[in-house]
Amino acid sequence: MMKVIQTQELYKIYNQGQENEVRAVNKVSLEISKGEFTAIVGPSGSGKTTLLNIIGGLDAPTSGKVIIDQTPIEELKENDLINFRLHSIGFVFQSYNLIPVLNARENVGFIMLLQGMAEDEINKRVTDLLKSVGLENQMEKRPTQMSGGQQQRVAVARALASKPKFILADEPTANLDSKSTGDLLDIMEHLNKTEGTTFVFSTHDQRVIDRAHRIITLEDGKIIDDVKVN
C-alpha cells in the first residue's frame, strides 16, 4: 500500500529544559497508507491535537520528520507550505470554521477558487460534493442558518473539494449530538469506501472509536497502541 503519511521520530517539546517541560509528542513514528480510516485516541493532554497539527503542517515539530506522499514538509517555505496544505490536505475542525459570510456552496467552492479552478468546473463539483454529504437542499444557506451537524458536513465537503491526499479532522464530532455524529461518520465511512478517501481523525468518543478501521492510542505523547480492526 502507498504511504501517504509518514512520521519519523517526531518530538514536540514545550518549555524544553525547564522544570515544566512537556513532551506533547514524544518520539512518534507512524505510517498511514492510502485509504485508511484512522482514529487517534487517548486521554486529554495526550498530544492528539499537537500530532495532527504537525502532520497537517500547521505546527513545526521540535525534531523529527513528516513526509507527506514523498514530500518532507519541514523543507517547505511558509508560502509553499500554505500552498501544500491547499492542494494536499483537507482540514475538518472541531468548531467547523466555515467562512461565515459565504453560503454552503461558496464555502465549498472557495477552496477551488483558491486553487484557481474554472468557475463552471467548480459549480459542478460543488453540487456533487454537497450531494455526497447529503446537503443538496441546503446549498444556499449560510453557516448561521445551519445546524452544527450540517455545518460539519459542509466542512467535510470543503475538505474534499481540493482533492487532497488525506483529510485531517481534530475531534470533528466533539460539538455534535449523537444523531449528527452518526450521520457524519456514515458519510465519512461511505466516502472512504467508495472514493478511497483517507481519513485521520482524533476523538474521545467511544462511539466514534468503534467506527474506526485503525486505532492509534497516545499517552503522554507516545504511541502505546496501534491496532487494525475490520
Partner: protein, 404 residues
C-alpha cells in the same frame, strides 16, 4: 472572488463599517468645507485684486514700483511688447500710464491717481463697461471716467467739468480741463475714491510722455504657472533697466495675509486628519483583533497570506472610498451653494476687507482639484492604516491565531 468576500465582510459588521465610513465622511466633509471656504477666499482676493486690476505680472522701469514716479516710465515700443506677448502663458499685455495729481471742482480738491489705459486691452481683464454706473467710457481726449467715490466727493455727474493739476514727465507742468464722461464703481472703496481713467493717449499728452507707459500689465492663461511665466519674461528683458514683478511681490501684504491664514488652515486640517487616522486605526485594530481566528482558519486551509492581505486592504479601501465619496457628495452642494450665494462678512470685517481692495464676500472654492486632493489624501491614510492588518497577517501563525 476577493471583492465579493470583501463586500460581504463589510456588511457582516455593519456597525464597525458604519463607524469607519462615518469618520471618513465627517473628516472629508469638514475638511472640504473648511478648505473650500479658505481657498475660495484666497481666490476671491487674488481674482479681485490681481486678476482684474493689478494683473498677475507687471513690467516697469526699474525701481518704479517702490517710487511710483512717472519719471521711471518706459517706452511702449511695439517690437518690445510683441516679444513679450510671444512668451508662453502670456495672454494679454495692457499698457498703462499712471500718475498722481490733484483734481479740483470749485473750492474742493482731491488727490487722485490718473490711469491712462487702452480700453480694448483693459477689457481683457476687467469689464469696465460693466462697472459703469453712469455715462459712458471716454470718447474724446478731453474725457475722463471717475470712480464713484470721487463723484460723490465733488458732487459731480456726467458732463460736469473737472480741473486737473500735477506734474508730468521730468517735471513738466501738467494741467487740463476734463469732462466727466462716466462714473464707475470699481467694487472697492479705496479705488473708487482714487481712480481716474482716461485714454492712454490723453494721459500721455497730459503728462508730456509721448509713447511712454509706467507699467505693462501681463495677464496669463488660467493654467499657466505664475513663477514660470515671470521667469520666461525676465529672460527676455534687460533686468538692469526693467523690473518684472509678480503680484506676490507687488502686494506682499496680501500674499502674507494669505500665507499666514493658510498655515492656520493647514494646521486645522492636519489635526482633523490626525483624529481621522486614529479613528480609522481604532476600527481597523478592532477588526484585526476580532478576526485573528478567522485569519488563522483561512491560512490553515490554504489561503495565501498575500490574498488575505489584499482582502483586508480591499475592505479598508472600499470603506474609506465610500466615506470619501459620501463626504464629497454631501459637501459639494454646500460648496456650490456658497460659491454662488457667498457669505457676506459683517460690519468691521467687511470694511477692513474692502480697504484691502476686494468685496467682503467669500465665494467658496469649487474646483475639482480640492476634493480630488482630499480623496487622494484619505486614500493614502487608508493605505497606511491597512499596513497594520497586513503586518499582522504576515506574522500570523494559524494554530496560535485559532487558539485565541
Amino acid at each position: 472572488m476577493l471583492l465579493k468576500l470583501a463586500w460581504r465582510n463589510i456588511w457582516r459588521n455593519k456597525k464597525r463599517s458604519l463607524i469607519t465610513i462615518l469618520s471618513v465622511l465627517i473628516a472629508v466633509f469638514l475638511a472640504l468645507l473648511m478648505r473650500s471656504m479658505q481657498l475660495g477666499m484666497y481666490k476671491h482676493m487674488i481674482d479681485n485684486v490681481v486678476g482684474s486690476y493689478t494683473g498677475y505680472i507687471q513690467i516697469h522701469g526699474k525701481g518704479y514700483w517702490d517710487e511710483r514716479s512717472i519719471d521711471n516710465a518706459i517706452s511702449n515700443d511695439k517690437d518690445f511688447t510683441a516679444k513679450i506677448k510671444n512668451t508662453k502663458g502670456v495672454s494679454a499685455i495692457l499698457p498703462r500710464l499712471e500718475n498722481f495729481g490733484l483734481l479740483s471742482v470749485g473750492e474742493l480738491t482731491k488727490a487722485v491717481s490718473i490711469n491712462g489705459i487702452v480700453v480694448e486691452e483693459e477689457q481683457k481683464i476687467q469689464d469696465l463697461q460693466g462697472k459703469l454706473i453712469a455715462g459712458s467710457l471716454f470718447k474724446n481726449s478731453g474725457d475722463m471716467v471717475i470712480g464713484k467715490g470721487i463723484a460723490s466727493y465733488f458732487k459731480v455727474g456726467v458732463n460736469d467739468t473737472i480741473v486737473f493739476m500735477g506734474q508730468g514727465y521730468h517735471g513738466m507742468l501738467a494741467s487740463g480741463k476734463f469732462k466727466v464722461a462716466g462714473i464707475v464703481d470699481l467694487k472697492n472703496p479705496t479705488l473708487n475714491k482714487l481712480t481716474v481713467l482716461m485714454s492712454l493717449q490723453a494721459a500721455q499728452d497730459l503728462f508730456s510722455a509721448t509713447g511712454m507707459v509706467t507699467s505693462l500689465v501681463i495677464d496669463k492663461n488660467d493654467n499657466a504657472r505664475l513663477h514660470k511665466v515671470q521667469k520666461e519674461i525676465q529672460k527676455k528683458l534687460d533686468t538692469s533697466t526693467y523690473e518684472v514683478l509678480n503680484w506676490e511681490q507687488m502686494m506682499p501684504e496680501l500674499q502674507q495675509t494669505i500665507l499666514a491664514d493658510n498655515v492656520g488652515g493647514m494646521l486645522m486640517i492636519a489635526i482633523l486628519y490626525m483624529i481621522l487616522i486614529f479613528g480609522i486605526f481604532g476600527t481597523v485594530l478592532m477588526m484585526t483583533q476580532e478576526r485573528q481566528y478567522e485569519f488563522g482558519v483561512l491560512v490553515a486551509i490554504g489561503m495565501k497570506k498575500k490574498q488575505l492581505q489584499l482582502l483586508v486592504f480591499i475592505e479598508t479601501i472600499i470603506l474609506s472610498l465610500t466615506g470619501v465619496g459620501l463626504g464629497v457628495i454631501l459637501a459639494y452642494p454646500i460648496m456650490l451653494w456658497k460659491h454662488y450665494y457667498p457669505f457676506q462678512f459683517p460690519g468691521d470685517q467687511a470694511k477692513m476687507m474692502e480697504n484691502y481692495g476686494f468685496s467682503a464676500i467669500d465665494p467658496f472654492y469649487i474646483q475639482a482639484d480640492l476634493p480630488l486632493a482630499h480623496a487622494l489624501l484619505i486614500f493614502s491614510i487608508a493605505l497606511v492604516v491597512s499596513l497594520y492588518p497586513i503586518y499582522i497577517i504576515k506574522k500570523i501563525k494559524p494554530i496560535a491565531a485559532m487558539r485565541s
